[in-house]
Amino acid sequence: MQNRGFRKGLAIFWWLTLIFLYAPLLVVMVFSFNSINTSARWGGFSLRWYERLLHNDVVIGAIGHTLLLAVISSIIAVILGAMIGYGLYRHRARKLGLLIVLIYLPIVMPDIVFGISNMAFFVQINRLTGLLSPGLGTMVIAHVTFQIPFVALIVYSRFVGLDATLFDAAKDLYASPWQRMLHFILPTLKPALLSAFFLSFTLSVDDFVISFFTAGPESATLPIYIWGAIRRGISPEINAIATLMIASVALVAVLSLLFNRRRA
């Protein structure tokens, strides 16, 4: 039957998608446990590359920078983005076209343009005022700017999906503006804020281009370290770092999924 052939085709397509998505990750993960210094041949199971990572202070430092940057920028982005999302919702009756374009522009802007502009901007400020020398500070600012649109979008869509009379009900039931924030808006937003945090966190950990242009000599993150190391060839050590990153991102994704399921 024609239908059957079509279904078979779809199934093949599905499996191909899965293979091209996950097989490369699998290759990296498998070869991170290779006992010999190549990704061409399997020489037996070993944890030697992981051991070497543990004794590599530069790598440990880069991991620390990555996590610190991700946590700080995500917290700031969630606070600011939630305020923008709430503002967009409160004033949704007005024409907000230009404002929305301004806020969402960083999403569509090529990272490389965004990174270079950031760098040029920070350099100018630094030259004029001595402030904002490249380092963790500039990286946090750059990361927050590209995380905010995602947070604002998530918070805004949570509000839009809400019965608007809930705001009236809270007022009607004697809640003052502060009480409404504390007992209605924040608890209602909690799942959205957590997903926004997890998304911001993974975006930050993933980012290489923007970090590269805004980092200082002392603030290299893991992706920057990998990029530097790769110029000397792909070592199994890189595979080990990649495997650790895959594991941690997967962990955050699973945590976020579990949390949302518990809410639903």
């Binding site: 809400l162 019965d163 009379t165 809930l166 009236d168 009900a169 809270a170 007022k171 009607d172 039931l173 004697y174 809640a175 003052s176 009480q179 007992h183 209605f184 608890p187 209602t188 909690k190």
Partner: protein, 391 residues
């Protein structure tokens, strides 16, 4: 300010209610009468939702704002709650001007059309929300929830999650959440419109009994004239932001103030008057005698006042001068307790339709196609002005 202390007297109205009659309770709530003076609402862009509304609502009254959608009834209700600000005029509750009082400082609670239960809270916490916001301690709140749950017979509903409740259950939780705050006035924004007919009439009765037992002032919004008549002490009929008539259900139904009110109350036997001479008016169904001395451009004859007999039968009230017309039965709707006939009447070239509602006394029913004699008492021919207020 209409703010009330968060701690109520021990054994609130929901525990001691059986020993209190409605009138005693309403005397205690004298403070809740509502007075609107020249209330206006105009939206930016010039759209006028309410045009200078004057209204007095008595303490302990079940008062209904009735009208089609867009007539301003919900806007008016939201102003009582403080959720919409009037563009002009003053509003007082219990003698205190609350025109500029924000909603969270008014002793008024609302049952919303969508019920607006908080999805992040349990049913129990939803009910206690208002008390918590007013700073009542947890133990006391829980005691109050138990009391109100007994009062509205919520049973095990308080232990459910909000998303596990049906429409009717949500409605009762929303009612409990508003009543537990013991407001001076309870506002209800079409709380029954989302429910199916059976549940709806059951909840109408429950709501009415609750109001009578508490003696609380209820302001109810609906677009359903039958619901309004069943439940209300008084009704205000609104159209285009203007009150067309205020009166008891009987007054509004039997003596509509104008054509709009008559149509909205479901009247169909409306006949334009072409000329009047003394007690005789000329209409498309012929000359009619009327006892109504008021001016009017339209004659209203309520369908239940028509007398139907066979063409040769004696008059329904011999010796009295009745309006008599011959009609033919076009359709018959049998409703058990009554029967509705659609009748056609030919007056020369003029063709008209009449509707008669005859209570079913077990007599022989007329059949479609039968010729019938219709008799109309002169006191049942009512003059209406076709000018709607403000139109």
């Amino acid at each position: 300010m209409a703010e009330r202390s968060p701690t109520a007297a021990p054994g609130g109205p929901f525990s001691a209610i059986e020993s209190t009659t409605g009138s005693e309770a309403s005397a205690a709530r004298e403070a809740s009468s509502i007075r609107l003076k020249g209330i206006r609402k105009e939206y930016p862009g010039g759209v006028v939702a309410l045009e200078s509304v004057d209204l007095d609502i008595r303490a302990g009254e079940f008062f209904t704002l009735l009208g089609p959608s867009g007539c301003g009834k919900t806007t008016l209700l939201r102003m009582l709650a403080g959720l919409d600000e009037p563009s002009g005029g003053t509003l007082s509750i219990g003698g205190v001007d609350v025109t500029d009082t924000p909603p969270h400082k008014r002793s008024v609670n609302t049952v919303f059309q969508s019920y607006a239960l908080f999805p992040h809270l349990s049913v129990r916490d939803n009910i206690a929300f208002g008390l918590k916001m007013r700073g009542m301690a947890r133990a006391e709140r829980e005691q109050k929830v138990v009391e109100i749950a007994g009062f509205i017979k919520l049973g095990s509903l308080v232990d459910r999650r909000v998303d596990q409740l049906s429409g009717g259950q949500r409605q009762r939780i929303a009612l409990a959440r508003a009543l537990i705050c013991e407001p001076d006035v309870l506002l209800l924004d079409e709380p029954l419109s989302a429910l199916d007919a059976g549940l709806r009439s059951q909840l109408q009765v429950e709501l009415l009994r609750t109001q009578k037992r508490l003696g609380m002032t209820f302001v109810f919004v609906t677009h359903d004239q039958e619901e309004a008549m069943v439940m209300s002490d008084r009704i205000a009929v609104l159209s285009d932001g203007i009150i067309q008539q205020i009166g008891t259900p009987q007054e509004v139904y039997e003596r509509p103030a104008n054509l709009f009110v008559a149509r909205f109350m479901g009247h169909d036997n409306l006949f334009p008057i072409s000329a009047r001479e003394g007690a005789t008016v000329q209409t498309p169904i012929g000359a009619l005698e009327t006892e109504d001395k008021s001016e009017g451009e339209v004659a209203l004859i309520r369908p239940e006042t028509l007398e139907l007999t066979s063409p040769g039968a004696p008059s329904a009230e011999p010796g009295k001068r009745l309006n008599t017309l011959m009609c033919r039965v076009v359709e018959r709707f049998y409703r058990g307790s009554n029967v509705e006939y659609r009748l056609s009447h030919q007056n020369g070239e003029q063709h008209s339709e009449l509707i008669a509602e005859i209570s079913n006394t077990g007599d022989r029913l007329f059949r479609v196609g039968d010729e019938v004699k219709v008799e109309i008492y002169p006191e049942d021919v009512i003059m209406l002005s076709d000018d709607e207020e403000g139109a």
